[in-house]
Symmetry: C2
DNA sequence: CAGTGGTCTAGACCACGAA
DNA sequence: TCGTGGTCTAGACCACTGT
């Protein structure tokens, strides 16, 4: 009943932790593993997908399945609130940003609670570590709220500049909500991430003190090479019924 | 280049959104879909996995692939800070809780920063909606910090009682860190969730004002039927470099 | 029992990367 | 060019569900 590919994944995981396979080196090819475990290649591939989703293996097309450390994943932290020891471990990434004006699609209109077609400033961030993409971030600010201008210089991985730009324009964020879900990558994401591993999808909205949504963001993180961290400080005084 | 299973997934998604397939009704069987799209069954299955991970389809062994609404997913909110409209939408779940004493394994010892073998009070929560499990939560409190006692009555889905018990014992949580990652389910989780969909894995630690870890938790949420939401309130005064 | 999805096989052919 | 992983086929057999 316990699928055989799980036994294989467990065995490979154990061998990786025993350093039988070296970090940043490829495992034996899928064909060889199939022979060793006396199963077909697709079965081996499913076992490797399990390890990939754990961040222990990175599949590189045409090269092999490389042993990785899950601790070296990139870290997304809410609204630039850098967090604890993990943040320090997150390796420095190369980030590129583009700014343009778009009009709200159905999805964006629901996220930002603006009418369909409303003008938005879009900030598109791509974070890269070495040759591997660690995150796609699209931030949106309704131009009704404020008309921000690019370009963004020296961008941070998750678009913290937008918050600074908002503050400079006199728009202050009071509260941010991050929704995190897991899904499989879209065609585009699969191409960019070069991976079919599950994606951490983050939907974020920031509101000002009047409750108006002043910023929204859609992030896609490759689940095998990134994670999300949130810090909540408990107030000393027990407080409010939220409303 | 764009895998054909993605086209099939896109087509099915569109038909679902056009209400060509009814919510809570099964799609045509995988065999029939394979004939309709002129592909083999495994290809159809991959397309359905995409929709499953989006929460649009629930696969039920021996019954069929049922159309679902992603909005009806259960919501995990950090440390019981119920959140916005989404929380209201999260349907009420049946929750069972067990309390026992365990000694720290390697993983728990790293999470809680206690020595291996240290005694811990474990709270195990299982949340169910109808017949579908929506979350597994294991909370740990080092007995060195305080020796809590069960049983827990009328448990909440994510173990908020533990926080209350801590407070009653004079232990106050100052800060909570949630790490969210995506992985494929373990053998056990696959059995409990009855699904091979990606799991949202949450590692949580709570510290008191002295920085000591007073509680830790490991949560597994079925990615196709649950999501995580975090709310961050921005302080009015721009503050500290965290360190 | 019949119909469904779950796992697995033993191939085929294509796309990618390095030499 | 050759070895790698990515996609897909056309089955087989098992497990689960409802009748």
């Amino acid at each position: 009943m316990a699928a055989y590919y799980h036994s294989i994944a467990d065995d490979l995981r154990r061998r990786i932790e025993c350093a039988e396979y070296v970090v940043d080196e490829p495992l034996p090819s899928e064909a060889k593993l199939a022979i060793r475990y006396r199963v077909s290649v697709p079965t081996i591939r499913i076992a490797l997908e399990v390890l990939q989703a754990e961040g222990r293996v990175e599949k590189l097309h045409g090269r092999g399945n490389f042993v990785r450390r899950p601790e070296e994943r990139a870290v997304y932290g809410s609204a630039g609130h850098a967090v604890g020891r993990r943040a320090a471990e997150s390796p420095p990434m190369q980030v590129s940003a583009e700014v343009r004006t778009v009009s709200a699609t159905d999805g964006l209109s629901a996220l930002l609670q603006v009418r369909r077609g409303a003008l938005l400033t879009e900030f598109e961030y791509v974070s890269v570590l070495g040759t591997s993409v660690r995150g796609l971030a699209r931030l949106y600010v309704p131009q009704r709220v404020v008309k921000l201008k690019g370009p963004v210089v020296d961008p941070s991985p998750w678009g913290d500049e937008v918050r600074s730009l908002l503050a400079e324009a006199g728009v202050h964020v009071a509260s941010t909500v991050d929704r995190v879900a897991s899904r499989l990558p879209s065609t585009e994401e699969r191409k960019v991430f070069r991976s079919a591993a599950p994606v951490l999808a983050v939907e974020r909205t920031s509101t000002d003190f009047s409750g108006q949504i002043v910023e929204g963001a859609l992030l896609a993180l490759p689940g095998d090479r990134a994670e999300a961290v949130f810090t909540t400080r408990t107030h000393v005084e027990p407080m409010e019924a939220v409303g």
